[in-house]
């Protein structure tokens, strides 16, 4: 019970607070810009050559305001926004009118979550393992070479690294398709389908794992170099504990814990990276949807993506924080 009162409940309260602040920010920040998406769309329509008389403009404005939840006072709009968050109903999309935004998100989000979860887990595990081992043997030649390679990869932004991978493995050396996986209405789960997914997801996942792994590698290497010098490790050496056991049982396990907290903190940025990489490879996820939404000025869609991403990330961080005690003996034994 003590665990519930001291850890679980405060964490849930924080979760609710962050979502509240996030949605409130999404509501207010666009309004601070003083720009009106409704006027923008009308001017877009007029720029395309359609002639609208005054009454048509008025009725159009009214419909658009209703669609965007921009009717009434600020408070009323705020309440409408929350209603949309709770029902996950963001009105119709503009670029695939009149498909509801929630329908689009339902088709695209699973792909993003699949890529996000696999690539984050892989990069975290691989990066930390390699960083840990390289940190433990930091005086060895191969460790220094690996470190130098990581130093080059680390500063690459997601888009640029993605483009390089795309050019290399899809155009110069045509190993993988350059994106454009089609989403069928019905997906039949068979061996062929899984192979197709793997073929199309490999390059985006590779980009994310290498870039993410580089960050974990460096952090873990630094941590392990410090843990290695601690007394209990020296003691284990003198006590004749096998080196393999010291590395995995003593050093890595201890250095792993802060990395879980780091992962929780970095998840928002990692998710942004996933969206950007999806754009490069035209991977059928939320990132591609975002690209289409932005380039076509689809305000409802971008709003829906933002709200849903906030919910996804905060929930992922919450889950991570709640399973953290399972790994941390200090909390576990209480």
């Amino acid at each position: 019970m003590k665990f519930f009162r001291d850890y679980f409940i405060p964490r849930i309260i924080q979760y609710v607070l962050v979502i509240f602040c996030g949605i409130t920010a999404v509501f207010f920040i666009p309004r601070l810009t003083g720009q009106d998406p409704v006027l923008e769309i009308i001017s877009q329509i007029q720029a395309q050559g359609a002639s609208l008389d005054a009454s048509a403009v008025n009725s159009l404005m009214k419909t658009l305001k209703e669609l965007y939840g921009l009717e009434g006072s600020l408070l009323e709009q705020y309440i409408i926004t929350w209603k949309r968050v709770f029902t996950l109903d963001f009105g119709p999309s503009f670029f695939q009118f009149p498909t509801p935004v929630s329908d689009l998100l339902r088709t695209y989000l699973p792909w993003t979550i699949g890529l996000f979860v696999t690539s984050t887990l892989l990069s975290w595990i691989i990066g930390n393992m390699m960083g840990g081992i390289a940190g433990y043997f930091s005086h060895k030649k191969w460790s220094k070479i690996l470190d130098a390679v990581i130093m080059v990869v680390r500063p690459f932004p997601h888009y640029i690294f993605g483009i390089l991978v795309l050019i290399l493995f899809a155009y110069v050396w045509q190993l993988f398709p350059a994106g454009g996986m089609m989403l069928g209405r019905k997906t039949i789960l068979n061996w062929n389908f899984i192979l197709t997914i793997l073929r199309y997801s490999f390059l985006p996942a590779l980009t994310l794992v290498l870039l993410g792994g580089a960050v974990w590698f460096q952090q873990m290497k630094l941590l392990v170099q410090n843990v290695k010098r601690e007394d209990f490790v020296q003691y284990a050496h003198i006590g004749g504990v096998k080196e393999k056991y010291i590395i995995f049982g003593y050093v890595l396990q201890n250095a792993m814990l802060p990395q879980i907290t780091q992962l929780a903190l970095a998840l928002g940025q990692v998710f942004s990276g996933v969206l950007i990489v999806e754009m490069v490879f035209s991977y059928p996820g939320v990132g591609l949807l975002l690209y289409r939404g932005v380039t076509r000025g689809d305000y409802n869609l971008v709003m829906g993506i933002t709200v849903l991403s906030i919910l996804t990330i905060t929930t992922a961080v919450l889950i991570l924080d709640l399973v953290y005690p399972l790994f941390d003996p200090r909390i576990r034994h209480k």
Binding site: T33, P157, I167, T306
Partner: protein, 284 residues
């Protein structure tokens, strides 16, 4: 001069420094460009690199090399505005939260943590989408500054927290120094190395972000930046048509710039970190 000599012993500093000097000369060269930065059809289109156009020409009829010099300059302008202004916010938030503590610390850090958890990139895109018509180089910088301070405010705060616990803080307060003079005269010089390294990281982040905003068409596409150059090359199918000189120029320049900045900042902050310096002397 001794400092520079020490720094140059680190290969990362040497490479980073030389690359930065090279890129700086490219920026200078942009002022002597024989071509206009924005006009189309100034040279024959789609020519591979030759003696007259060392990096070839693009489908818009511009010289790729001279466009590149403009694009580095403009990208750096955006990144510098973003970096410097977000440093102001980060330092202010970090110092107030760290020094005042208590309720203001909790409010400011709550806000910062909230910003960190949210995928900020999406809110940035949302705002840029609304401001699309009003976006200029300077505005892009401001927008990035507004969203790029949270992580660094946290880092600066923890540094100030540890400084506050040190004895010289008490000495200074007991000798009758005001808060403002304590903070600006004692704390600021000690946190400058940290602020500098966060500045470099932030500049790198802003350059990467500008590229994504350009791909989304949210910055003025007529003005050459690293992002818009890439965006035009992709729009004109430069990869598919094999115009490698066009698409690779912004890609390679971005990589050179970011690797140079990163190596420069890592080596300088390692040099300034006394713990690592002692290690280095010990090894020799």
């Amino acid at each position: 001069m001794g400092i520079l000599k020490d720094l140059f012993k680190d290969y990362r500093f040497a490479v980073g420094f030389i690359l930065l000097v090279f890129l700086f000369f490219l920026v200078l060269a942009s002022f002597f460009s024989p071509y206009d930065a924005i006009k189309w059809l100034q040279v024959p289109r789609d020519k591979p690199p030759s003696w007259f156009h060392i990096l070839g020409t693009n489908s818009k009829g511009q010289d790729v090399f001279w466009e590149a010099t403009f694009s580095i300059r403009n990208s750096l302008i955006i990144a510098l505005i973003a970096g410097l202004i977000s440093r102001l916010i980060a330092v202010l938030v970090g110092f107030v939260a760290g020094y005042k503590g208590g309720i203001s610390d909790r409010i400011l850090m709550g806000l910062t943590d909230g910003l960190l958890v949210i995928p900020l990139f999406l809110i940035l895109v949302l705002v840029a989408m609304l401001l699309k018509e009003a976006m200029t180089l300077i505005n892009t910088g401001f927008l990035l500054a507004f969203f790029g301070w949270a992580w660094d405010a946290r880092t600066i705060r923890s540094q100030v927290l540890s400084l506050r616990e040190r004895e010289f803080t008490q000495t200074s307060i007991l000798s009758g120094n005001g808060t403002l003079s304590l903070v600006t005269k004692e704390y600021l010089p000690l946190t400058i190395p940290l602020i500098f390294s966060t500045l470099i990281n932030n500049i790198a982040w802003a350059i990467g972000m500008e590229i994504v905003l350009a791909i989304l068409g949210l910055v003025p596409l007529a003005i050459p930046t690293l992002g818009t150059t890439l965006q035009w090359a992709i729009t004109y199918q430069a990869i598919l048509l094999g115009h490698w000189w066009w698409i690779l120029t912004p890609v390679v320049l971005t990589i050179l710039l970011l690797v140079a900045l990163y190596w420069f900042s890592v080596s300088v902050s390692e040099y300034l970190d006394p713990r690592i310096r002692i290690q280095r002397i010990g090894v020799k």
